[in-house]
């Protein structure tokens, strides 16, 4: 048997203690860098979510008043309305081709394709000088019923019929959620952890403005001016 010798108890304990220190230092380094990258990622995600919400709002505002120059000019629709409760945007979703003239008192309208029309939706009928907003209360094939009845004569060649779309933005302050509601449906959450959401519309220069802030440690405020081109006074009649 040769001169074999194991580690003494003190040597083993010392090496264990050193190993422990090295492992703990490594873990600490890993933890610090992980926290750092997570914080960076969280900040980027917050920023991206806030900017995406503003992009969505801007896209909707771009459609405010689209094809609705006459009813907006006549005061039948707002097109774009901002108040303390939030923002309301009205625009035409699609044009419906009329099959024949509409007589005063008529309640049934025939179109080429009524597949996009649902009960409860609104349609706007107008010619160059007058317009009316109706609620759809029945749909059968390519014919649908309107309420109220047509109040004037609308010639097929000179009149245009549009399916109205209404989008509403509102802040659920208790939950901190901006909800986007389309055509009276349930409000889908657009952005969560919201601390502040304000929107305004200035008819004078025709600009909309939105400001929002998140419930994060960093007190960043995201602001944007938007141009609702279809709401321009030059378009109204």
């Amino acid at each position: 048997m040769g001169n074999t010798k194991g580690f003494s108890l003190v040597e083993s304990l010392l090496s264990l203690a050193f190993s422990l220190i090295i492992i703990l230092a490594g873990l600490e380094l890993f933890g610090v860098s992980r926290d750092f990258f997570l914080r960076l990622r969280s900040g980027s995600e917050d920023r991206r979510a806030a900017l995406a919400a503003l992009d969505k709002l801007e896209s909707d505002i771009g459609r405010a008043g689209r094809f609705l120059a006459v009813p907006v000019g006549l005061g039948l629709l707002d097109g774009l309305d901002a108040g303390e409760g939030g923002l309301k945007i009205e625009g035409a979703e699609e044009e419906l081709a009329l099959l024949r003239d509409i007589e005063p008192g008529q309640r049934r309208i025939e179109v080429v394709d009524a597949s996009g029309i649902k009960i409860g939706r609104e349609v706007v009928l107008g010619d160059g000088t007058g317009a009316q907003v109706f609620r759809v209360d029945a749909v059968e094939d390519d014919t649908f019923s309107i309420d109220p009845a047509a109040g004037a004569f609308y010639a097929r060649e000179t009149s245009r019929l549009f399916l109205l779309t209404r989008v509403e933005y509102a802040l659920d302050a208790a939950a901190g959620i901006i909800r986007r509601k389309e055509n009276g449906g349930g409000g889908q959450p657009l952005l969560e952890s919201v601390r502040l959401f304000e929107a305004s519309y200035d008819e004078g220069p025709n600009t909309a403005f939105a400001r929002l802030a998140l419930r994060t440690k960093e007190k960043k405020i995201y602001e944007r001016h938007m141009f609702p081109k279809n709401m321009s006074r030059a378009f109204r009649k």
Binding site: T207, E223, F227
Partner: protein
């Protein structure tokens, strides 16, 4: 009894490896932070150009802000906490058209500027 500790070389090599690891991680963190700041500033510059563009488009064709020549403003962006200079140059072309060149640049790092060009036509009516 033959007792032997670590040699100087062994100690230095292990220290160098530890330092290399730590400095590599720290360098990566610093680089990531810088890239994020750079990206935030570029996004903010683009946002300010877009914001000013929306406001210019809403103006009437003969508004003082759309007169031929240079215009500018200084804006404190509340999303990045930085100060930006937004400037725009208007060239009055013939036939009721104006060419606008916009630029937004952070005051401390003007190389991170964003530019946009837009053509305004009086016949559009807004």
């Amino acid at each position: 009894m033959a007792r032997r500790g670590f040699t100087l070389i062994e100690t230095l090599v292990s220290l160098a490896m530890a330092a290399f690891l730590i400095s590599g991680t720290a360098g990566l963190m610093i680089r990531a932070a810088r890239l994020k700041i750079k990206s935030d500033i570029l996004t903010a510059s683009a946002g300010l150009v877009r914001d000013r563009l929306a406001r210019l488009r809403s103006l009437s064709f003969d508004d003082p802000d759309l007169e031929e020549g240079g215009h500018g403003e200084v804006i404190a962006d509340r999303a990045t906490g930085r100060v930006f200079r937004v400037s725009w140059q208007v060239e009055d072309g013939s036939g009721g058209r104006k060419a606008v060149r916009l630029r937004a640049e952070p005051e401390r790092s003007p190389e991170r500027a964003v530019e946009a060009r837009v053509l305004l036509d009086a016949s559009l009516g807004f």
